[in-house]
C-alpha cells in the first residue's frame, strides 16, 4: 500500500508539468473567450444604443448574452477537447515512456521490491486522479467564469444561468456531469474499466510486441463482449427476458469480471511475460 502510494505520487509528479499546463490552458482560454465574446457583444450593444435603438429592441434583435454564448465556442470546448485528447494519449504514453530512450526506466520499476501489479495500479490511479481532477476543476472554472460574466455584461443584457442549466445546455457535459451520483459511478466506472483493458492491451504488446498487438485487440474485444453480453442476450435469444434492474446487476457483474480479468491478466503478464 505504501509502495503503491509512493508510486502513484511519483507517476503524478512525472506528468504534473503537462497536467498543470492543461489546467492553466483551460482557465486561460475560457477566460479569454469570455472576455472577447462579452466585450464584442457589449460593443455591438453600445453601437445599437448609439443608433438610438431601445434596450428591448436590442435584446430581441441581438439576443441576450448568457454562459451558453461561451460554451458553444471553441474558446470553451477547445481546451476540454485538448485535455481529453492529451489524457487519452497519456493512457498509452504512461507505459511507453518507461521503455523509450536510452535510460530505460522500466528496469528500475520492475526491480522495485513490491508486487509488480502495483505499477499497473499506480499508473491507472494517476490517470483516474487526473481525469477527476480536471472534471472537478472545470466545475470551479465554470463558476468563476460565470462570476466574470456578471462583471462584464450588464444585467439588462444578461441571461443568468444556473450551473445545472449551463451543463444541460452543453451536450457532452451531460455525460461528464450526470445528475445522479449512481450515474456518475456508472459513467466513470465504465471509463476506468476501459482504461484497465487498454492497459492490459498495452502490456500484451510490451510482452509479445507485434503479435501482442493482436492479442491486445483480441483481449479488448473479448472484454467488450463479456461486458455487454447481458444486453446482447437480451436483444437476441432471450427476447427482453431480463428486467432493467437485472440487466443493471448483470452488467455490474460482467463489468467486475472484465476488471478482474484485466487485473489478473496484467498481473500474469507483468510477472511472467514482461520484457525490458
Amino acid at each position: 500500500m505504501k509502495n503503491f502510494l509512493k508510486l502513484t505520487n511519483f507517476e503524478l509528479n512525472r506528468f504534473s508539468k503537462i497536467y498543470i499546463t492543461l489546467i492553466g490552458l483551460t482557465l486561460v482560454m475560457q477566460t479569454i473567450g469570455m472576455i472577447l465574446l462579452s466585450s464584442s457583444y457589449m460593443s455591438d450593444v453600445e453601437e445599437q444604443l448609439a443608433m438610438g435603438n431601445s434596450m428591448e429592441w436590442i435584446t430581441i434583435n441581438l439576443g441576450t448574452f448568457s454562459f451558453s454564448s461561451l460554451t458553444r465556442t471553441f474558446w470553451f470546448g477547445g481546451p476540454i477537447i485538448i485535455a481529453i485528447v492529451t489524457l487519452l494519449i497519456y493512457v498509452f504514453f504512461i507505459w511507453y515512456r518507461d521503455w523509450f530512450g536510452k535510460n530505460t526506466f522500466i528496469y528500475r520499476l520492475l526491480m522495485i521490491p513490491t508486487a509488480r501489479i502495483n505499477l499497473f495500479f499506480a499508473k491507472a490511479s494517476t490517470i483516474f486522479l487526473m481525469v477527476l481532477g480536471l472534471i472537478s476543476l472545470q466545475l470551479v472554472f465554470i463558476l468563476l467564469e460565470n462570476e466574470l460574466l456578471k462583471i462584464l455584461v450588464s444585467d439588462a443584457f444578461r441571461e443568468d444561468q444556473s450551473l445545472k442549466q449551463i451543463i444541460f445546455n452543453f451536450d457532452y457535459m451531460g455525460v461528464l456531469y450526470p445528475n445522479s451520483i449512481i450515474q456518475f459511478f456508472i459513467n466513470y466506472g465504465i471509463g476506468f474499466m476501459a482504461v484497465f483493458v487498454i492497459f492490459t492491451g498495452i502490456l500484451f504488446e510490451r510482452c509479445y510486441r507485434l503479435k501482442g498487438i493482436l492479442f491486445g485487440i483480441l483481449f479488448a474485444g473479448v472484454s467488450l463482449l463479456i461486458f455487454i453480453s447481458p444486453i446482447l442476450l437480451q436483444v437476441t435469444i432471450l427476447n427482453e427476458f431480463f428486467y432493467p434492474i437485472e440487466i443493471f446487476i448483470l452488467m455490474a457483474i460482467t463489468g467486475l469480471v472484465v476488471i478482474s480479468g484485466s487485473i489478473w491478466m496484467s498481473h500474469y503478464l507483468l510477472n511472467k511475460k514482461i520484457r525490458v
Binding site: 504534473s16 442549466q165 445528475n179 427476447n239 427482453e240
Partner: protein, 419 residues
C-alpha cells in the same frame, strides 16, 4: 515530511473529493427544489373520496424542465426526483400490469405492460400481446399473437404463438381485451387496414383453445365494408379502455360515422377540411354470451353527443355501463344496467362554478372523477356520485409553497387511477 513530498497527490485528492461532493449535494438540492410540492386543497366535501386515487400527468417548466408526476392525497411524486433504481422501472406512473410484476415476476418477463393485454382472476393470469415478427416488402408490419396463460393453482404457464387468421395486410393491431372463460381464451383485437382506399377498423373476437393453442373461433363484430363508404368516414372505438385489467364480460363500444366537408377559405388559397359527426351508436358486447346489444340513447342526449365529438368517455364498472360527456360546463352521466341494457339513471353536474374548461373524466366505484386539464399551475378536481347525483367533493391541486412567484410552470393531468 510526508505532506511535503506527497502534496500533489494529497491536494489533487482533496480537490476532487471536495468539489464532487459539493457538486452532488448541490444537484440534489437543485433537483429537489426544481419541482413544486403539490397538494390537494379541499374546496368542499370530504377528501376521503380521494383515498386510493392517483391523478397522473405531466409537469412543464418554462426553462425546459419537465417531468411526469403523480398526485395523491399524500402529495406529489415526480419521475425526475426518483432515484436511479426507481427510474429503471420502465413505466411511470405504474399501471395495473406493472403491479402484476411484483407477484408474478417470472411470468411477466418480456411482456408488454399494456393492461388490456392481461386477464387476471382467481385461477388464471393470461397475456395476449400483438407483436411484430417482420416487415413486409411494402413496409407493413407482420403481426402474430404471443399468448401466455398461467394456471395459478399449478403455477405452470402455457405459452404459444399464433398468426391472426383472416388478416392479410394490416396497418396496426391492438389487443383490446383478453378473457379466460373455462378452457377458452377470448381475445378481442382491433385491426386497422386499408379497404378500398379507405382505412377501416375491424373488431375481431378470437376464441382460442388454451391446451392446444389453436384458434377455434374467429368472428368479426362489425362488417368493415360498411366503413368503406367514399363519402363517409367511420370509426369504431373501445371505451372501457387500456388502463385497466378488466375481468368483466362486457365491452362498451362506440361507432362514429361522419363526413369531411371542405370549407372554402376567404383567402381562396387553402381549403380547410372540417369534420362533421353524423351518427353515433353505442354497443355492449358480452363475451360469454357473444351478444352485441345496442344501447338506446334518449333524444336530448343524442343531439349533444353528436355535438361533443371529443368530450366523450365511457366506462364499464361492475353492473353498469356509463356514458359520460361534457356539454357547456355540464358533466352528464348516463348509467345503463348490464342486466337489461336499459338506461337506469342520468345525472348532470355543473362544473361551471369550478370554472373547469377542459377536464379528464373517470368513473371508479360508482363515483365520477373530473380533473381539470388546462395547462395552468393549478387543477380543479370534482367528484360526484353517479347513482344519486350527489356532489361529493370539490378541490384543487395547488403548490404547497403557496406562493405566486412560481407561475413559470404548467400542469397537464391526463388520467385518474385507482391506486
Amino acid at each position: 515530511m510526508v505532506l511535503k513530498r506527497f502534496w500533489k497527490l494529497i491536494a489533487l485528492a482533496i480537490t476532487i473529493v471536495a468539489i464532487l461532493v459539493t457538486y452532488f449535494i448541490h444537484t440534489a438540492l437543485v433537483v429537489a427544489s426544481q419541482f413544486p410540492d403539490l397538494e390537494i386543497k379541499t374546496i368542499s366535501g370530504d377528501k376521503s373520496v380521494l383515498e386510493h386515487i392517483a391523478i397522473t400527468g405531466d409537469y412543464y417548466q418554462e426553462e425546459g424542465n419537465s417531468s411526469p408526476l403523480i398526485v395523491t392525497l399524500e402529495g406529489s411524486t415526480y419521475y425526475e426526483e426518483l432515484s436511479y433504481f426507481e427510474k429503471l422501472e420502465p413505466y411511470f406512473p405504474p399501471n395495473e400490469a406493472t403491479k402484476l410484476k411484483d407477484n408474478y415476476r417470472n411470468f411477466m418477463r418480456g411482456k408488454m405492460y399494456n393492461p388490456s393485454s392481461f386477464f387476471d382472476n382467481e385461477e388464471h393470469l393470461a397475456y395476449v400481446g400483438a407483436e411484430i415478427s417482420d416487415w413486409s416488402t411494402n413496409y407493413l408490419p407482420e403481426y402474430y399473437l404471443e399468448v401466455d396463460v398461467l394456471n395459478k393453482e399449478t403455477n405452470k404457464s402455457h405459452s404459444f404463438q399464433t398468426d391472426l387468421p383472416g388478416v392479410e395486410e394490416v396497418n396496426h393491431v391492438d389487443v383490446l381485451k383478453a378473457q379466460v372463460v373455462k378452457e377458452n381464451l377470448y381475445v378481442i383485437v382491433k385491426l386497422n387496414y386499408l379497404l378500398a382506399d379507405q382505412y377501416v377498423d375491424e373488431i375481431k373476437v378470437y376464441t382460442m383453445d388454451i391446451s392446444s393453442g389453436q384458434i377455434v373461433g374467429d368472428q368479426t363484430l362489425f362488417d368493415p365494408s360498411e366503413q368503406s363508404n367514399k363519402d363517409r368516414w367511420s370509426h369504431l372505438s373501445f371505451l372501457n379502455h387500456h388502463s385497466e385489467i378488466g375481468s368483466g364480460d362486457n365491452l362498451l363500444l362506440v361507432k362514429d360515422i361522419g363526413r369531411d366537408l371542405e370549407v372554402n377559405q376567404t383567402d381562396g388559397f387553402t381549403d380547410e377540411i372540417k369534420s362533421e359527426l353524423l351518427e353515433r351508436a353505442f354497443y355492449i358486447y358480452n363475451i360469454s354470451t357473444n351478444q352485441l346489444q345496442e344501447l338506446q340513447i334518449p333524444e336530448e342526449h343524442y343531439e349533444k353527443l353528436l355535438l361533443n365529438e371529443f368530450n366523450l368517455s365511457g366506462f364499464v364498472f361492475d353492473t353498469h355501463a356509463y356514458i359520460s360527456y361534457v356539454d357547456e360546463g355540464n358533466l352528464v352521466v348516463l348509467s345503463y344496467s348490464l342486466e337489461n341494457y336499459k338506461l337506469e339513471s342520468q345525472q348532470t353536474y355543473s362544473l361551471k362554478e369550478l370554472d373547469m374548461e377542459d377536464s379528464n373524466i373517470k368513473i371508479i366505484d360508482n363515483k365520477i372523477y373530473a380533473v381539470e386539464n388546462d395547462m395552468k399551475n393549478t387543477a380543479k378536481i370534482f367528484v360526484g356520485d353517479v347513482t344519486t347525483g350527489e356532489v361529493l367533493y370539490k378541490g384543487e391541486i395547488v403548490s404547497k409553497q403557496n406562493s405566486d412567484d412560481r407561475n413559470d410552470y404548467s400542469l397537464n393531468f391526463y388520467s385518474v387511477k385507482k391506486n
